[in-house]
Amino acid sequence: MKLKLLCLYSIILLIGVFCIGLMPAHAGKIRVVATLTDLADFASAVGGDLVEVHSLATGVEDTHGVPMKPSFVPIMNRADLMILVGMDCEHAFLPALLEASKNPRIQTGRSGYVDCSQGIIPREVPKTTGHSAGDVHPYGNPHYMLDPVSAKLAIENIYNALVAFAPQDKAQFKRNRDAYFTKLNAKISEWEKEMKPLKGVKFVSYHEHWPYFAARFGIEYFGTIELRPGIDPTARHIEELVASMKAQHVPIVVREPQFPERVPKRIAEQTGATMITLPIMPGGVPDTETYIKMMDYIVHTMVTAVQSKK
């Protein structure tokens, strides 16, 4: 009797799922799956009407903590292109999802696997990848997308992938890309001008997201609240950080929204610094749904915070 009930339960479950999940007709667009929201934004900008873009992250997650949801699997199973940041940024979720997707087109090294870090000169390549250094990325710090000039290389890689997939649409992709570059270049000049008064200003952040951003805009990345990448701070580390921040007059503490507020807030209070919450990808905080809006928010918030201390 119990066995029959179980079989009935299984059949009902299967029928229900089939009814919910029947695949709609293919719309003829290029199916693009991006790991993070900034890449999704770029893919939409370059692809325009010719692409259907899905982002695995929503923007609020830690880039290393995007969940491995089975609901991503059918989406990735049908994808034509898989766009990722690369440099091992997605090691916590992407390899298992790629295997579960059973899509040979988007596996590592295949034509549909679009690693946007191609051409990026890495910063902070670790001398050791032993676990004593924390959860380091062996190919260098992967958070290059926060430098808008490096982000242009990612856009170029996305453009090249779209053209390779659909060469007949090259002209349209080129138009879209050039239009976006024009807009982005104008914004880069604007941001550089806005950030110029902050040249040499020191700041700390929770995780080491900001070396490319700091290098681009001439601000000094003083350190991180984390003891090591992926390792929470010890009391001693916090004490040492506070002391060195006071000695060096570090005015800004950056808290990324996926980390708790308590420790960065305490450090800011003890050092007299200003704590600001900055997103690391579009959608991380409200009204930052696109890359440009996100960078506008980051630059404006940082400038305002520094100016308020003067």
């Binding site: 066995l3 929503t58 059918p74 390899p95 298992a96 579960a100 059973k102 596996q107 890495p122 910063r123």
Partner: protein
């Protein structure tokens, strides 16, 4: 006559110079030819010289251009330079250029370093090692608890697990997990192959085939390695009905249904099922019925962006176990010989993992219910022989709350009816707390109270466990860890 002589003389006189002229002409032709040759040579030399001059002109042009560019760059850096400070400014400009060159060199060096890390290990598989030690105190001895570990104070190196994985070719990957577990009585460790399997990567129709030795996909936790469980010990029902981890030698096919919704179907067949389960008594010829056949159907629902529900059903059937485990003595004096093994289960996981800070906070509720319905030949105490099926039920349910990146706590409840005698029941209650110092280093403290009913003949037991698990080398986030 005279005229004739005059003419002849004249002719003679004329021919002499003609002869002389002829000689000179030949020479002159020769000379001219030689001169022509020389002139051609000279022309060739002049042509080569001309080309050399052209190249030199080009080099001079490029160098002039470079000088102009550098001059412009220098002017840009220091737009207003007074005559008195020009020398000092030039050295500053040089210094800045040198600094930029140095920075470029460092960046290129880092890229080269990154390449060096990859190239020497290009042909090595990913290799990692897991160590797991269990310190425990149990209030009763093994004879009273039925455990294979002694009562009292114990230190048990449960896992020394070496794992390696790599691509075989563009079509498949392979992995191996070898584990050395300390023997309960001798303390000696024997390296056993827990898993060694090849898995396809590019089959059509969303299929994956795995073959070799592996943990068959059954239920929620049966195919999870001991050190990856959310608590110290495997729930009672899995330990008894599966036989520890769902290890098998065989083949398994997984199909991802080609629909928008995630549905996964797995079927498999193989020798034995359960690492600690007794083997079938095969004899010298195994029929197809001597194999185990299993299957699992699972799906997934995002109830909200932060809350998910993942249900599944599983089944296992071994048509001819052929006296698996030998004669099974019962408390009532009878002896059982297992003839058929049947197991079905239903499971689910309900999780709350807020997207914004899932590394710091989450709540997971997991439950699995199993029904065992094995068939036995019974040799009763009075030597009567008959055949009977024993239907037994077991379940576990756990709740784990993560309240910090490093800390989580939970509770596990387990219940099992003995597969051979469903009147014998055992219950377990286990609160636990886990401190994950990092991805690779974890301590867990757990208390377990195990109680049995009278029919089991076993005694209640209080146990405290401290588990320390660590990983060195390669570490990947597998699909089971979602």
């Amino acid at each position: 006559m005279k005229i004739m002589i005059t003419i002849i003389t004249l002719l003679f006189m004329l021919s002499l110079p003609a002869g002389a002229f002829a000689e000179t002409l030949e020479d002159r032709v020769k000379t001219l030819e030689e001169t022509l040759k020389k002139q051609e040579q000279t022309i060739e030399e002049l042509r080569v010289l001309q080309e050399t001059l052209k190249r030199q002109d080009q080099t001079i042009f490029e160098q002039r251009k470079l000088i102009e560019e550098l001059k412009a760059e220098v002017k840009q850096v220091e737009p207003s330079v007074s005559a008195e400070s020009s020398a000092a400014n030039k050295s500053i400009e040089t210094g800045q250029i040198q600094q930029q060159v140095q920075e470029l060199k460092e960046q290129v060096g880092q890229v080269v370093e990154a390449q060096r890390k990859v190239l020497p290990s290009e042909f090595n598989p990913s290799i990692g090692l897991v160590g797991e030690t269990i310190f425990s105190y149990r209030s009763k001895g093994s004879a009273q608890t039925g455990s294979d570990r002694p009562g009292g104070f114990d230190a048990f190196q449960r896992s020394v697990e070496l794992n390696a994985a790599a691509s075989v070719d563009p079509f498949a990957k392979a992995y191996v997990v070898a584990n050395a577990t300390a023997d309960a009585h001798t303390g000696e460790s024997t390296f056993n192959i827990e898993e060694a399997a090849i898995q396809t990567e590019s089959l059509p129709w969303n299929l994956t085939v795995k073959a070799g030795r592996f943990f068959g996909e059954f239920g929620r936790l049966a195919y999870i390695h001991d050190h990856e469980l959310p608590f110290v010990n495997r729930p009672l029902v899995l330990a008894q009905y599966i036989g520890g981890e769902s290890r098998t030698d065989g083949v398994q096919v997984n199909w991802l249904l080609p629909i928008e919704h995630y549905v996964s179907l797995t079927v498999g067949a193989g020798n034995q099922f359960g690492g600690d389960a007794p083997p079938n008594n095969v004899g010298d010829f195994r029929q197809l019925g001597g194999w185990n056949y299993w299957g699992r159907l699972s799906t997934y629902f995002d109830l909200t962006p932060d809350i998910s529900f993942e249900p599944g059903v599983s089944g296992l059937w071994n048509p001819k176990t052929l006296d698996r485990g030998g004669p099974l003595a019962q408390p009532d004096g009878s002896t059982l010989a297992e003839r058929e093994r049947r197991l079905v289960g239903a499971d689910f996981a309900l999780s709350w993992k807020p997207l914004r800070n899932n590394q710091f906070q989450s709540l997971t509720w997991g439950t699995e219910v199993l029904h065992s319905n094995n068939r036995y030949d019974v040799n009763s105490a009075d030597s009567t022989m008959f055949n009977r099926s024993v239907g037994s039920l077991g379940l576990y349910s756990y709740l784990t709350y993560k309240f910090h990146r490093q800390w989580s706590a939970g509770f596990l409840y387990g219940f099992v009816e003995d597969a051979q005698d469903n009147k014998a029941k055992t219950y377990e209650y286990s609160p636990y707390i886990t401190w994950a110092l990092s991805h690779w280093d974890q301590l867990r403290l757990q208390y377990t109270y195990t109680n049995h009913n009278t029919a089991s003949g076993l005694s209640p037991d209080h146990a405290v466990y401290v588990q320390w698990a660590w990983i060195i080398g390669s570490h990947s986030h597998g699909w089971q860890q979602r």
